[in-house]
Amino acid sequence: MNTSASIPASPLLEIRHLRKAFGARAVLGDVSFQVQPGAVLSVLGRSGTGKSVLLKCVVGLLQHDGGEVLFRGQSLENPAARKALRQASSYVFQQNALFDSATVFENVLMPLRARGEGERALWPQRVRDVLQRLELEDATDRYPAELSGGMQKRLAVARALVTEPELVFFDEPTAGLDPLRRNAVFSLIARLQRERRFTAVLVTHDVQEALVVSSHVLWLDAGTVQFDGMASSFATAQEPALREFRDNIEALRESLRSVANPNSI
């Protein structure tokens, strides 16, 4: 089942036949897809289907066993292309990966300092601007451990966006957050993506929210691509496996609502 949308000539990111196994356990088997400039691609799937592994293989944190990743048409086997990807992209980690010995301000300053990007004298203002946009301006001197879960997530997003990247990878950006904070994070991503026009690859479990913010969806199951197409097509696709996936999630939501409100049973 593959309902690929029409594919323009030059994708920003292209994954060809990617394979990854841990020992005898194959996690990714022949995964291929493309990400167009300006698109928001959500990678969906059950736990353990290799979504985060896929993201880490793409950015080079994990070495894949086979296949190829191309950025602007250049294979990442080429060190110059790998450098170009790292200069042009940011990554929001599932557990935030904030620098715990550094303040909020220093955390956001770090990518600018690391890349030596732009005029040095303007760095503090750029940091303050992004912190203000993410409503963290009152927490600049605090340490990550002193922030709430939602604030930590906003800080991770601030750190990822301060360099104004062309491409942002979000690895389970709402993991461990309550529903209200989850919605807030998705709203934030959607708002910032509209404002800054970055391309986003978003790994998540939250199907409904992902469909709202995404233009494209990639559905992985058992390490293979089961759906690659427009988000609108994913929501209405009638293939049995896909319907089962959506129905399972809806059933889970219903049961959770019942637990939250016993009178509704």
Binding site: K83, S90, Y91, D100, A114
Partner: protein, 257 residues
């Protein structure tokens, strides 16, 4: 049995190679991520300044014990006038570099392993790598450079405090002549002894810092995860550093004697 030994040897050689590449990369890419000056100052503070109290205490007691034992042994041969020679040469040529390095490894080395181990398990090292910064250069390089400075300085400090400790126990608490003691110290120490002392300290500094950093940096490869991996990395760091210090001490002494 021979198969097991062969596998162990291959693992050892492979680890040694990875450690050498890690250390070389840390030094080569030390400028990665900028702010080298700040990182150097921090490294000198953490490895050096913070270790001063423990170095001073250990050096003072080491010198005092040497003074006592020296006085006792030398008095058997009627050679108590050699106490200054015995204390100063023992400290300068052997005990100073070795004990100072072991103390710094115990304090700064374990802290380094644990810090890097936690940064690894919380994906902070991955985050640095994805900022197109060399994590080896950024997190370890400045500490290696700092070690080349800190270890010799703290070792010299150890020797000075130790010699003063020997004077305290030998000449203040025991009936030894102070002028004779300091005169013997002055006569005994040659520039060659000081060079050997500082060379040993610099080598121990590199070995200790690189080994502890390597263990913390690759804590996730130990087969354990999370807090256990950090604990294991810290233990491995200090054990391997201690062995490396003593082995290198023997080799340097054998070559230079």
């Amino acid at each position: 049995m021979s198969e097991y030994l062969g596998k162990l040897t291959l693992q050892g050689v492979s680890s040694l190679g990875r450690w050498a590449v890690f250390s070389a990369r840390a030094l080569r890419e030390v400028r990665s991520g900028q702010a080298l000056g700040t990182r150097l100052v921090r490294a000198v503070f953490e490895q050096g300044v913070r270790c001063v109290p423990v170095i001073a205490v250990v050096a003072a007691f080491t010198g005092m014990v040497l003074g006592l034992q020296g006085h006792y042994v030398l008095s058997r041969f009627g050679a108590t006038g050699m106490l200054g020679t015995l204390v100063s040469l023992s400290l300068c040529r052997e005990l100073g570099p070795v004990l100072a390095a072991l103390m710094i490894a115990g304090q700064a080395g374990t802290a380094l392993s644990a810090e890097l181990g936690i940064q690894r398990s919380t994906e902070q090292i991955d985050a640095i790598e994805l900022m197109d910064v060399s994590p080896e250069g950024f997190l370890v390089g400045a500490r290696l450079l700092g070690a080349f400075f800190v270890f010799p300085v703290l070792t010299a400090f150890f020797v000075l405090v130790g010699v003063a400790g020997g004077w305290l126990s030998g000449c203040v608490l025991m009936p030894q002549d102070s002028n004779g003691y300091w005169g013997a110290v002055h006569e005994a120490i040659r520039s060659r002894d000081i060079r050997e002392c500082l060379l040993k300290a610099a080598v121990f500094g590199f070995l200790t810092t690189a080994l502890c950093a390597y263990q913390g940096f690759y804590a996730h490869r130990s087969g354990e995860a999370g807090a256990r991996a950090v604990g294991l990395a810290t233990v491995r760091g200090i054990v391997l550093s201690s062995i490396a210090i003593l082995a290198a001490d023997y080799l340097i002494t054998a070559v230079l004697l």
